[in-house]
């Protein structure tokens, strides 16, 4: 499973998916899972929706966002530098000076004047164009770019992994592997299960609402990364790398339903899956929008603890992903039946 996770992260790393522009990545994801499900399709806002099970019980919706933070070009200045606006919340300090790539393959550097005011309006992307006209011949207004980097493992037993946009590709990889495992095992399903690869989460959970409205599930679970506090000076969060799949109690967008929380805890105990509780005071996940989309439903979250979220070098613990995949599959196998 470890090899599969690393392999998938490398595949995903071939694609850019800055928020609002997820189609290339999602076309790839569709090609990977379409033979492991009963149906897969795109909805109007661009979510990829995957279904396993046909009319075999109440609907469950897992939602994992496929978008990452990035930049969008709004102008080129007279010296050939591109001006960009942020797509999602960007930590400028850790992003200045980084290698970025555009969807059409053009490479550049996101940077700003050495002694300048470090704001998004004074930063720019240098694509090595000498004039405005040449810059706009290489990249158009409206084009998007994001930071690029390598996938690599490190640490004791190579258990730690770093890659661009573990938020949220580590969860995307986990959801893909959960879909495959669930389909291959041909369990006697007690629910009709939907796996959504949602769009535009980084702009305020925009994709999950329409998906939840169309699917109208009884049970909704978001799969995302979550912050941890096992670094120096990091404060007092409960969850830590290496302690397993996080069962979310709350974040800034949602207070998870207690019956969902106890169900997920029971499933992890019964199946000996390493898990921990998660409480986050900031940040939101798709569960927040799923909960508000229709009438009564039970929502919760399964998260992957991650360090340095929204920086170019996010870090996670591979065994935590394996726990997350197991928890998703086991919970579907057990069946969401609680009222």
């Amino acid at each position: 499973m470890k090899i599969q996770i690393i392999g998938l992260l490398n595949n995903l790393n071939e694609y850019l998916s800055p928020t609002g522009h997820e189609h290339n990545l999602l076309n790839f994801v569709k090609s990977v899972i379409q033979d492991y499900c009963d149906e897969s399709y795109f909805d109007p806002i661009g979510n990829l929706i995957v279904r396993i099970g046909t009319e075999c019980g109440d609907r469950v919706m897992f939602s994992t966002h496929a978008d990452t933070i990035g930049f969008i070009v709004y102008a080129a200045d007279d010296k050939g530098f591109l001006r960009v606006s942020n797509l999602g919340y960007i930590d400028l300090i850790s992003t200045i000076g980084r290698h970025v790539r555009f969807e059409n393959g053009v490479d550049g550097v996101f940077t700003c004047e050495k002694d300048g005011n470090k704001k998004i309006t004074t930063c720019y992307v240098d694509i090595g164009a000498p004039t405005k006209e040449e810059a706009l011949a290489m990249v158009s207004v409206g084009d998007t770019c994001s930071v690029v980097g390598d996938v690599y493992t490190f640490g004791k037993n190579s258990s730690f992994i770093s890659a661009p946009f573990l938020d949220n590709r580590i969860a995307v990889a986990s959801q893909i592997l959960a879909i495959k495992k669930l389909y291959e095992n041909k369990f006697d399903l007690k629910n009709e299960i939907y796996f959504v690869f949602s769009v535009q989460e980084e702009l305020g959970l925009r994709g999950a609402g329409p998906a939840a409205y169309s699917i109208n599930p009884k049970y909704g679970i978001s799969c995302d990364v979550t912050s941890v506090s096992d670094t120096p000076e990091s404060g007092n969060l409960f969850q830590k790398l290496g302690n397993g799949a996080c069962i979310k109690l709350m974040d800034a967008s949602v207070y998870c339903n207690d019956r969902m929380v106890s169900f997920l805890r029971t499933v992890s105990e019964d199946n000996k899956i390493k898990s921990q509780s998660e409480i986050l005071f900031a940040g939101g996940t798709d569960a927040g929008k799923i909960q508000q989309s229709r009438g009564s439903m039970f929502v919760g979250g399964i998260s992957i603890p991650t360090r340095y979220i929204h920086s170019p070098s996010e870090v996670a613990y591979i065994d935590d992903c394996i726990s997350v995949i197991d928890l998703i599959v086991s919970s579907c196998k057990t069946g969401f039946l609680f009222e």
Binding site: D43, P44, I72, L87
Partner: protein
């Protein structure tokens, strides 16, 4: 241009759109079916030469920016709240209030946002912009009792009407979004190819409230939002911050703070504009937001596109736009209507 002037001259802000709505109804009555929903949105359905198996919406908002009487002070001046107006554009200006002191007989009360004379301000204060809570509207009385005879808290305040052509352009209050209303009315008054919905929304300026309801009600397959957007195309602004240029044609957005537009949809629109020989420009900045955010994400969502007129000095007493741009927007909408299959696959019935 006369119809646009009449639309701009009407005073109707977020929450009291009935005045502009009644006028629009008079224009479109007999040319389409329409109804008014529970919060005041005007929803019109116009039959085209052909039916469509998909639902298309063209949407504009009826409300303009304005003010509201919040409190009457002991000295007879008023504390005003702002509906979309920045405090930096009101100092020293006169406005008028639609007074409902006598609900049977609405009357207009004039007022001035007084600023102290420069002679009496110390150096630091001269460069400060007072907040609305520190500004006072002087309505020419000196006691609370006299003021209470003239206005009621909750009454709306408006910039004075001031529509006129000048140079190559037009100037007026409320170009945002009476331009959009004008475009939709012209479409309704003409013959169109495909059955379409024309929606005049309320309360956009306070957070796209009206369109949330119309998006949920209609659940369209595609929505085109016709707006006014900010142009900062004047000397002194960095080229990269000018956003768009008055007179350079309809402004097409790829992103704003409320919506990321599907890049494939945007390029279909720009290609269509090129093919139809209609000038266009990008909104070269990511700022603001409009009703597209509602249509894209309410209920199951749909694809959206925004087409705007470049408007200088948005949300202030006098904005500037080009009437040629407005005509080009109408041409672009007609082209969209004729080429609907570019945007949606449909079955002709």
């Amino acid at each position: 241009m006369d119809l646009l002037k009449q639309l701009c001259d009407i005073c109707s802000s977020s929450g009291e759109e009935s005045y502009i709505r009644d006028f629009i109804i008079k224009q479109v009555s007999g040319h389409c079916d329409y109804y008014v929903d529970k919060i005041g949105n005007l929803i019109c359905f116009k039959k085209g030469k052909n039916s469509l198996s998909k639902k298309i919406v063209y949407s504009a908002h009826m409300d303009e920016v304005g003010f509201m009487v919040e409190r009457i002070e002991d000295d007879g001046t008023l504390v005003m709240g702002s509906i979309g107006v920045s405090p930096s554009v009101v100092g020293g200006k006169s406005i008028r209030i639609r007074s409902t002191v006598n609900p049977e007989k609405i009357k207009w009360i004039n007022g001035v946002f007084g600023l102290g004379p420069i002679h009496m301000l110390d150096k630091e204060k001269r460069n400060e912009v007072p907040l609305f809570k520190d500004l006072r509207l002087d309505i020419g009385v000196s006691s609370k009792k006299e003021a209470e005879k003239l206005v009621v808290p909750g009454d709306y305040g408006y910039f004075f009407n001031n529509f006129s052509p000048f140079g190559n352009y037009i100037k007026s209050k409320a170009l945002d979004d009476r331009i959009g209303c004008y475009v939709l009315i012209q479409m309704i008054l003409s013959e169109i190819e495909f059955d379409s919905w024309f929606v005049f929304c309320v309360m956009e300026e306070i957070g796209c409230k009206g369109s949330s309801a119309t998006a949920y009600e209609l659940k369209p397959d595609m929505a085109f939002i016709i707006e006014g957007t900010t142009a900062a195309d004047i000397d002194g602004t960095d080229d990269v911050s000018k956003v768009c240029y008055v007179g350079n044609g309809p402004v097409i957005s790829f992103a704003d703070r409320g919506t990321i537009y599907d890049p494939f949809c945007v390029s279909k629109l720009t290609s269509l504009a090129d093919k139809s020989n209609i000038p266009w420009q990008y909104k070269s900045f990511v700022s603001g937001g409009n009703d597209a955010r509602s249509y894209q994400r309410v209920a199951g969502g749909c694809k959206v596109l925004s087409i705007s007129a470049a408007v200088r000095y948005l949300h202030s007493q006098i904005s500037v736009a080009s009437f040629e741009d407005v005509k080009s927007i109408i041409s672009l909408c007609r082209s969209i209507d004729k080429n609907m299959s570019v945007f949606i696959s449909h079955d002709k019935t």
